[in-house]
Symmetry: D2
Subunit: 163 residues, 4 copies
C-alpha cells in the first residue's frame, strides 16, 4: 500500500455494508444458506477496506495477502430472499501481524440481529511469509490501527486474549 496514496490515518465514519439476498444464496429450507454469511463477511471486509481508502485489490497488487486464520458465526434469525441487511464491521484487534474483525448482520428495515460473527487474519506476502506491517508497511499499519476498537457487543468482558 505504500505505493498508493493513502488517506491520512484518521478514523472516518464507516457506513455499514448493505446487502440484498441473491436467489442462488437461498437453500431448500427457504433461507440464506449459512455458508453465505461467511462470504458476506468477506464482502463487508472488502467494503470496509475500500471505505478507509485501501481497497483489497490494491493491497494484493502491493504483494500483500490477507488470508483468513479463523472465522465464526452465530445465527440468530434466518434471512430470506427479499430481505436487505446491514453488516456492521468492527476491527477488534490489530497488532501489526494479525487482526480480528467482528460482524453484526442486522435487518435494514427491521433492526433485527440476524447473525454475529468474527474473523481473524494474518498478513503474508505471495510466498505466504508473514509480514510485520508496522515495519514493512507503516502507513497501512497506521491507517488500520486507527480503526481498532474494542468489541463490546454481545460480551461483558474484554474479548482479546491474544497478546
Amino acid at each position: 500500500m505504500e505505493g498508493i496514496e493513502l488517506t491520512e490515518a484518521v478514523k472516518k465514519e464507516i457506513k455499514p455494508y448493505e446487502r440484498g439476498v441473491h436467489y442462488y444464496e437461498t437453500d431448500q429450507m427457504g433461507i440464506v444458506h449459512h455458508s453465505n454469511y461467511i462470504r458476506w463477511f468477506e464482502e463487508a471486509r472488502s467494503d470496509f477496506l475500500e471505505q478507509i481508502g485501501m481497497p483489497y485489490d490494491k493491497i494484493e497488487e502491493e504483494g500483500i495477502l490477507i488470508p483468513v486464520l479463523a472465522v465464526s458465526c452465530k445465527y440468530k434469525s434466518a434471512i430470506r430472499y427479499g430481505d436487505v441487511v446491514h453488516i456492521y464491521l468492527k476491527v477488534t484487534y490489530f497488532n501489526g501481524v494479525r487482526f480480528k474483525a467482528s460482524y453484526q448482520v442486522i435487518g435494514k428495515e427491521t433492526g433485527v440481529l440476524h447473525a454475529s460473527g468474527e474473523s481473524e487474519h494474518g498478513f503474508v506476502n505471495r510466498d505466504m511469509i508473514p509480514l510485520r506491517m508496522k515495519k514493512e508497511y507503516p502507513k497501512m499499519y497506521e491507517l488500520l490501527a486507527a480503526y481498532v476498537e474494542e468489541e463490546v457487543l454481545d460480551r461483558k468482558k474484554t474479548p482479546n486474549t491474544r497478546s
Copy 2:
C-alpha cells in the same frame, strides 16, 4: 425418522468423509476459499448421517429440519487443487434439542491438519418450531445419542458449558 427403518442404536465405526477439491472452490490466492470449508462440514454431516442410517433427505421428509445455529473454523494450512482431504466428524454434544459436532480436515496422504471446526444445530419442524427429539422422535434420539463423544482434540478442558 420414525417412519423409516433405523438401524439399532449401536455405535458403528464411522469412516472419515473424503473430499477432493473442485476447481471452482479455489480463489485467486491459489487455495481453497475459506468459505468452502463450512460447506464441506455440511457435506461431512450429511455423510455421517447417511453412515449411521438416517440420511438427511429422509430426515427432512419426516418434517425435521436441522438448521445451523453456529459454526466456526480455524485454518491451519491451505488446501490446494489436487489435494484430497479426510474430514473427521465427532458429535460432541447432544441433549435432544441441540447438538454440536467437531470437524478435523486432514490431508489424506500427508496427515497434515488443514483445519478444525465446530458447528451447533437445533431440530425444528417446518414451521421452525423446536422439536424435543427424545419425546417426539425417540429412535432417532437414541441413535444419535449413541455417537456422542466428548471432543478432546485441540482442547485441554471439557468444552461444553451448555446444560
Copy 3:
C-alpha cells in the same frame, strides 16, 4: 402479481445492473470463475424485475415460479477482482408461457465486452404446472410484454445502439 400494485405497462428506461467482483468469485486462474456469470445473469434478471416494478420475491409470493429452462454464455475477456461491470439485459422473447433474455457483460470503465449470454424461462405454479400468463396474470403479462425487443446482438447487423 395481480395482488400488488403494478406500474402501468409502459416501457421505462432500464439501467444496466452494476456489479463488482467478490473475492470468493475468483479462481486460481486469477479470474472470475465462469459459473459465476450464470449467477450474475440471475442477479441482473432480479434487478430488471425490480426496476420494472415486479420484484421476484413478490412474484414468488403470488405463487409464480420462473425456473430456468436453458442458459448459455460466451466468454470473451476475463473479469478480474477489482473490475466493475455493467450487465445489459434485454427481453428477447415472450409469448406468455416462456420468455428469453439476453445479457451483455461490459466493463464499466473500459467498455470491453467481457461476455454475452442468454437464458430461457417458463412460468409455473408451486406444483410446477405451467402458467399461461396472459390469461392468469394479465397485468404482469402486459408489463413484461412491453419490454420485449428483438435480439439483434451477435448477428450480422449493428448490435450496439449504445453511445
Copy 4:
C-alpha cells in the same frame, strides 16, 4: 503434460461421473440451482481428464490452462436433494487449439435425462497466450484426440461448424 507419464493414446472406456447433491446446492425452489450444473460440468471434465491419465492439476503444473470459452445447459427435469446423477461427457471437437465437450446429466436410478449441455475451451499458457497442442504438447494432443467423437445426441446434423 510432456513431463509426466501419459498412458498411450488408446481410448479407454470412460465411466460417467457420479454426483450426489449437496444441501447448499439447492435453492428455495427446492431444487438444485441451475448455476451448479455448470460447476458439475467442470467436475465431470476433471474426472474425465483424470480417467484418461492427465489430471488437470498436473496439466496446470505444466503451465497449461484450459479456460472456458462458452458454456450452455438445457434443463429438462429438476434435480433434488437426495438424488444421484451420472454425468456422461463426450469430447465432440478437438483441433489442437480448442475443444468442445457435451454433457448429459442422467438420474442414476431413474435413467431420467435431467439436463444436457456443452462447453468449449481453449488451451493457453500462464500469460493467456493460446497454445498449439499438436506442436507443443504432442503426447497430450494424441491422447485427447483419441477421445473425440461426434456428438449425435439431441441433434440431427453435424454440429461443428468451426474449422
